[in-house]
């Protein structure tokens, strides 16, 4: 190899190193941006999913009571009345009021729940036990402490109590899982009493039954009657203990 060749080779390699040094950070940034965008769109999708169940403007507007922090700073809650088009279905109604609670009051200082927390699901068992499944942010973004954690749970329980008479007690899940505490203090292993005298939930007849083919009529009839079994029983579910009364 003659010296000229060597110079060309070294020059070429040096150029490649320089190009790589410039290109790699750009590539890395682009990758980061792409993964951020994906995360954001996931968050967005989740929000949209929960928002889709938000208000239906055709529902009659009712006076809803939402419990946020009072401005005294002593850890007490204050009900705020808002006219909202709430559904008469207890599950939808629970989702609507809890989403409004999560959206927060006009003054962000009076929030009781972290702004990035999302309600993932809400179920109502036949015995009146409501199950609210929140995203992990409810546990991770809340300021740790007995007072702050109790305010969060209290605002959820009181808001349900004031607006959804069918919910007797509430179980709180974090991302589908039962957790020991909210953020190190407040006990989430039991249920919280919501309404001591709950109104029985009226189970809706399944629409699928109406659309059943004619030859399946006898079975369909059975199915129509089936929801009657869903009327609240007196025996509390396995989730009902230990019970906390906030």
């Amino acid at each position: 190899m003659n010296p000229r060749w060597k110079v060309w080779l070294i020059g070429g390699l040096a150029a490649a190193v320089v190009v790589a040094a410039i290109y790699f950070p750009i590539l890395r940034r682009r990758l980061q941006k792409a993964s951020n965008a994906q995360q954001q769109s996931e968050e967005q999708a989740r929000r949209e999913l929960t928002q889709a169940l938000a208000m239906n403007p055709s529902e009659p507007r009712v006076r809803a009571k939402l419990f946020w922090a009072s401005d005294s700073g002593d850890g007490t809650l204050l009900p705020v009345t808002a006219e909202l088009p709430l559904s008469s279905d207890p599950v939808l109604r629970s989702k609507q009021v809890l989403n409004t609670l999560l959206a927060g009051p006009v003054d962000p200082e009076l929030r009781t729940l972290p702004p990035d927390a999302v309600l993932l699901a809400f179920y109502l068992l036949p015995d009146g036990t409501g199950i609210a499944d929140f995203s992990e942010a409810l546990a991770t973004s809340i300021p740790s402490g007995i007072q702050s954690e109790q305010m969060a749970v209290d605002s959820i329980v009181k808001t349900l109590e004031a607006n959804v008479p069918q919910v007797a007690r509430l179980k709180i899940l974090i991302h589908g899982q039962e957790v020991e505490t909210l953020a190190g203090h407040l006990d989430l292993t039991g249920t919280f009493t919501v309404n001591t005298k709950p109104v029985p939930a009226q189970p809706k007849p399944a629409p699928a039954v109406v659309a059943a083919p004619a030859q399946a009529a006898p079975d369909a009839k059975k199915l129509v009657e089936a929801p009657a079994k869903l009327t609240p029983g007196t025996t509390p579910g396995k989730l009902a203990q230990p019970e906390h009364r906030p």
Binding site: G73, G145, T189
Partner: protein, 202 residues
């Protein structure tokens, strides 16, 4: 007397913007409370001495293994008016002893709630005298640590890790220790356990 400095180890508890960690502050408060209690003639055990993090059950076990224990859990919150102190007792639990007469571990606090409330009110009254703006009576909350404790049990929460200067918190230690020691002393005569077959079953 079982003193429980909350959190510890990898769990630092509440954290202030100024870097104040609940787990560290409560350990120092515990030293002062311990001294004040010993001056009143109490024998004191701590659920942790150092920066470790025993489980809720391990902490409860320290009290459940003895007869006539009193359990006090120390906390510093992220919220609340700085310079105030709140006392909490566990919210109501259904009392259901099983056929053996033992108290189920997961509801060990149930038969002691009345006593806990009495102790909590005594301590809170004294705290309200020293720390203006503190509530007049103990409050109820579903506190995981208290639920499995088979003894009169309270949680004392000091506000807050959000103070700019750590000295503002440290200054409260003497007053808190004094109130707890005097409250516990005033409570002692009413600590008569009427329930037979004491002790919790795990």
């Amino acid at each position: 007397m079982v003193l429980d400095p909350a959190h510890g180890g990898t769990d630092s508890g509440a954290r202030g913007t100024g870097g104040i960690r609940e787990s560290e502050v409560v350990l120092e408060f515990a030293t002062q409370v311990r001294r004040a209690l010993e001056l009143q003639g109490f024998q004191v055990v701590q659920t942790r001495q150092d920066n470790e993090n025993p489980s809720f059950d391990d902490r409860s076990a320290k009290a459940n293994a003895q007869r006539g224990a009193i359990f006090i859990s120390l906390h510093v919150s992220s919220t609340g008016s700085p310079g105030t102190v709140r006392v909490y007792v566990n919210s109501e639990l259904p009392t259901r002893a099983d056929s053996s007469g033992l108290i189920p571990w997961e509801r060990a606090q149930a038969p002691f709630l009345g006593l806990s409330r009495k102790l909590g009110d005594q301590v809170q009254t004294l705290l309200a005298q020293s720390f203006r703006g503190s509530p007049a009576a103990a409050q109820a909350a579903a506190i995981r640590q208290l639920r499995t404790t088979a003894a009169p049990a309270i949680a004392v929460e000091i506000s807050s890790v959000s103070v700019d200067n750590r000295a503002n918190l440290d200054r409260m230690a003497t007053g808190v220790a004094e109130a707890i020691a005097r409250g516990a002393t005033a409570f002692k005569p009413s600590y008569v356990v009427a329930v037979t077959g004491q002790g919790a079953a795990q």
